[in-house]
C-alpha cells in the first residue's frame, strides 16, 4: 500500500509538470516569453498586499461555491446550474437591498436580511434544478444549463428594465448602493473580513457535514449507488433534493457577497464564472473538502495574477483558465493511468468488483 501511495504522489507531480509544459508550449505558440508570463502572474497575485487582498476577494466566492458543490458531488450530482444559483443569489440580495435601503433600518440588519435573501434565491434556483431531475426526469446537467441561461436573461432584463439606472440603462449594472449598505471593508481596501469569515465557516461546516455526520454518510451512499441506498432505506430523492438546496444556499451567499462586498450593485456577469471554476476546483481536489481552501486560493491567485498580462505582455488574461484547465485535465488523466496500472498489477490476485447495480445494463460481463 505504501508504494502505491508514493506512486500516487509521483503521478500527481508528473501531472502538474505536464500542465506547466503544455501551458509553456501554448505561450511559445503565441510567441510570448513563458518565464516572463509566469513571473507576471506571481507578481500580479502576491507581489503586494493590495494584489493579495484582491486574491482573497476572489477566493471568497470561489471557496463558497466549491463548498456547496462538494455536497452535490457527494450525492453523485453534477450541479452545472451553479452559475444560475449564484446569479439568483445576487438578484435576491439586490432585491432585498432595494426594498430596504430607504426603510431607515440599521444597515447591519439590512445587510443581514439581504444575505439571507441571497441564500434563499440560490436555494430556490437549485431546488428548481433538483425538482426537474427528481420529478421531471431531466438530467441535472441539462436542466442546470437551461436554468443558467434563464437566470442570465432574468438578470439582464432586471438591469435594463425595472431596475435600470435613472436615465439610461447600461451593461455597467444597476445604480450602486450606498456605502453604508456594503459589508465592512478593511481600510484602504475592498477586502471584507466578514466575507472571508463567511467563506471559511462555510467550508468548515461542509467538512463536518460530510465527514462527521450520519447525514454525510448516507448522502455518500446515495452518491455511490442510489439504488442500493434506496434498498437500505435511505430516502434517495429527498437526499438529492436536500443536497441541491444546501449547495444553492452556499451559491446564494457567493452571489450576495458579489453584490454587498465586491460590486455594490447588480451587474450582467455577476457570477463571474466562479460556479464553473468551482466545479474545476472540486474535481482537482478529488472532492475532498480538506483541500478546498488552499486549491481555491491558488486558482484565485492565478485569476488575479493574469489580470495584468494584457497590459504588460499584450497577452490575453485567459492564460489563467488555460493553466487551470490543463492542470485539472492532466491530474484526471494521471489518475486514470495510475488506476489502470494498479489494476493491471493486481488483477490476477484480486477478485473483480461486482458491477454496480445502477449501471447493470452497460456492465454486462460478456464471458
Amino acid at each position: 500500500m505504501r508504494s502505491s501511495r508514493w506512486f500516487n504522489i509521483l503521478m500527481q507531480v508528473i501531472a502538474v509538470a505536464l500542465a506547466l509544459l503544455f501551458t509553456t508550449l501554448v505561450l511559445l505558440a503565441s510567441s510570448a516569453p513563458p518565464l516572463d508570463a509566469f513571473k507576471n502572474i506571481i507578481i500580479g497575485s502576491v507581489g503586494s498586499w493590495g494584489k493579495f487582498s484582491d486574491v482573497l476577494i476572489s477566493w471568497v466566492p470561489l471557496l463558497l461555491v466549491t463548498a456547496g458543490l462538494l455536497v452535490t458531488f457527494t450525492a453523485g450530482l453534477w450541479n452545472i446550474g451553479i452559475e444560475g444559483q449564484i446569479t439568483l443569489g445576487a438578484i435576491f440580495t439586490t432585491w432585498a437591498l432595494r426594498s430596504l435601503q430607504d426603510s431607515g433600518w440599521p444597515p447591519l440588519l439590512v445587510i443581514s436580511i439581504s444575505i439571507i435573501a441571497g441564500m434563499l434565491g440560490g436555494a430556490l434556483w437549485a431546488a428548481l434544478a433538483g425538482a426537474l431531475k427528481t420529478f421531471g426526469g431531466v438530467n441535472e446537467i441539462f436542466g442546470g444549463l437551461g436554468l443558467n441561461f434563464v437566470a442570465t436573461a432574468f438578470n439582464i432584463w432586471l438591469i435594463f428594465g425595472p431596475w435600470k439606472r435613472p436615465g439610461v440603462a447600461s451593461m455597467s449594472g444597476t445604480m450602486p448602493f450606498d456605502d453604508a449598505l456594503s459589508l465592512p471593508a478593511l481600510p484602504g481596501s475592498r477586502l471584507s473580513l466578514v466575507a472571508v469569515a463567511l467563506a471559511i465557516i462555510s467550508i468548515v461546516i461542509v467538512y463536518f457535514l460530510l465527514k462527521g455526520t450520519y447525514f454525510g454518510l448516507r448522502l455518500k451512499a446515495v452518491g455511490k449507488n442510489p439504488r442500493a441506498a434506496h434498498l437500505l432505506g435511505v430516502p434517495t430523492w429527498q437526499y438529492m433534493m436536500v443536497s441541491f438546496v444546501v449547495c444553492g444556499l452556499f451559491a446564494g451567499i457567493a452571489g450576495a457577497v458579489q453584490v454587498t462586498s465586491v460590486y455594490h450593485r447588480l451587474i450582467p456577469s455577476i457570477s463571474s464564472g466562479y460556479g464553473f471554476l468551482g466545479l474545476l476546483v472540486a474535481m482537482l481536489i478529488n472532492y475532498q473538502p480538506i483541500w478546498a481552501a488552499p486549491v481555491a486560493l491558488f486558482f484565485a491567485a492565478l485569476n488575479i495574477g493574469s489580470i495584468q498580462l494584457p497590459v504588460v505582455l499584450k497577452l490575453d488574461s485567459t492564460l489563467a483558465g488555460v493553466l487551470q484547465g490543463t492542470l485539472v485535465l492532466f491530474v484526471l488523466l494521471a489518475d486514470g493511468v495510475r488506476q489502470r496500472w494498479i489494476k493491471k498489477a493486481t488483477t490476477q490476485f484480486e477478485p473483480q468488483p461486482m458491477p454496480l447495480l445502477e449501471n447493470e445494463s452497460g456492465k454486462d460481463k460478456s464471458q
Binding site: 503565441s30 426526469g137 464553473f276 487551470q324 484547465g325 488523466l333
Partner: protein, 332 residues
C-alpha cells in the same frame, strides 16, 4: 415584396441553423456509440478560432474547415482516451475540455482578433434555384448549409438503415451483445467519438467563415452555443431528423426574437436572444417526463380514454437515451 423578404429571412434561418445542426449530428453519432462529448461548447469556440486562423493564413477556406475538423477530432480523441481507455468520467473530462478549449481559443486567438478574413460565399445550384419558393429557400445557400441538409438524411439512413449503423446502435445500447457478435466495442467507440468530434469541428468554422464571419474573442457571441447544441441533442432523441427539427425551431425562435424587437421596445435585445432557453427547458421537460416514475403511477389512476390519450402524446415526445450512454465497457 414582403413575401420575398420573408422568404429571404427564412432562408437565413436555414443558414444560421446549419452550424448548430451539424454540431448536433456529430454529438448524436458520438452519443449513439455510448460516449457523451460534453466538450462541445469549447470545441466550437476553438474550431471557430482555429479554422479562421488557418483560412486567414493560407487564404484557403477549405483548409480552414479541415483545420476545424482536425481540432474537433483531436479534442474528441482526448475524451475517448480518458473515458474508454482510462475509464474516467466522461462528464468530468468533457466539462474540463469545454472550459479549457474556450480559454485556449480566447488566448491563442488574441492576435487575430477583429482581423478581416476570407468568407464563404453562397453557391446557387443551377436550375433548382429557379424553382419558385423552394429555390430561394433551399438552393441558394452556401456549401456548408447544403452539407447540413445532406447530413440529416445521410446520418439517419446510416444509423437506421445500414448494418454498420445497427452495430453503432448496438455498442451504445447493449455493448455486451454487440461484443458477442464480434464487434470490437471500444475500437468502434473510439472511431465514432472521433468521427463525431470531426463533424462537430465543422460548426466552429461555419460561424467564423460564414454565419458570424471573423474572430472577435469574447464578444464573438459563440459562447453558449455548444451547450444549446447539447440540449438539442437530447431534444432530438438521438435521431438526426428530430434533431434537425430542434435546431430549426431554435434558429426560428432566435430570428423571431430579432423580428419582435421593434414591436416590443421595452424588452432589451439580450433578453429576446435568450428567450428560446426557457422554451428549451420546457421541451426537455416534456421529452423526459414520460420517463419519470410518478407520471406512470398518476396515469394509472386516470380514466381509460384520458390515460390512453396522454400516454400516446408522451410516448411520441419521449426520448430514451442509449442504454449504455456514459458507461464504460469491459470485456474481461
Amino acid at each position: 415584396m414582403t413575401f420575398d423578404i420573408l422568404l429571404i429571412s427564412l432562408a437565413g434561418v436555414l443558414t444560421a441553423a446549419a452550424p448548430v445542426l451539424i454540431a448536433v449530428i456529430g454529438e448524436t453519432i458520438s452519443e449513439r456509440a455510448g460516449v457523451i462529448n460534453l466538450s462541445m461548447n469549447g470545441t466550437i469556440l476553438l474550431t471557430a478560432m482555429g479554422g479562421f486562423a488557418v483560412a486567414l493564413a493560407t487564404g484557403n477556406i477549405a483548409l480552414g474547415f479541415l483545420a476545424g475538423m482536425a481540432i474537433g477530432a483531436l479534442v474528441a480523441a482526448v475524451v475517448a482516451f480518458a473515458s474508454i481507455t482510462l475509464k474516467q468520467s466522461q462528464v468530468a473530462v468533457g466539462f474540463i475540455l469545454a472550459l479549457l478549449c474556450r480559454d485556449l481559443s480566447y488566448f491563442l486567438g488574441n492576435p487575430i482578433m477583429g482581423a478581416s478574413g476570407p468568407r464563404l460565399s453562397s453557391t446557387p445550384i443551377p436550375f433548382l434555384s429557379g424553382i419558385p419558393i423552394l429555390g430561394p429557400l433551399f438552393f441558394k445557400q452556401d456549401v456548408m448549409t447544403y452539407l447540413s441538409f445532406i447530413l440529416i438524411a445521410a446520418v439517419w439512413i446510416f444509423i437506421f438503415r445500414t448494418r454498420p449503423g445497427l452495430m453503432l446502435q448496438g455498442i451504445g445500447e447493449r455493448p455486451a451483445a454487440a461484443f458477442v457478435r464480434g464487434a470490437n466495442v471500444n475500437a468502434l467507440r473510439y472511431f465514432y467519438t472521433i468521427l463525431g468530434g470531426a463533424i462537430i469541428g465543422l460548426a466552429g468554422p461555419i460561424y467564423s467563415l460564414s454565419v458570424k464571419a471573423g474572430w472577435k474573442g469574447t464578444i464573438s457571441g459563440l459562447d453558449g452555443i455548444g451547450w444549446i447544441a447539447l440540449s438539442i441533442t437530447i431534444f432530438g432523441g438521438w435521431d438526426p431528423i428530430r434533431a434537425a427539427f430542434g435546431a430549426y425551431l431554435f434558429a426560428l425562435l432566435q430570428w423571431l426574437g430579432l423580428v419582435l424587437q421593434p414591436i416590443l421596445p421595452g424588452v432589451p435585445s439580450q433578453v429576446l436572444q435568450v428567450a428560446p432557453f426557457p422554451l428549451m427547458i420546457l421541451t426537455l421537460l416534456f421529452v423526459n417526463i414520460g420517463n419519470a416514475e410518478w407520471v406512470e403511477r398518476t396515469l394509472a389512476g386516470l380514466p381509460e380514454p384520458a390515460r390512453r390519450a396522454i400516454t400516446r402524446i408522451l410516448r411520441a415526445l419521449r426520448a430514451t437515451p442509449p442504454a449504455s450512454l456514459g458507461v464504460p465497457f469491459e470485456t474481461e
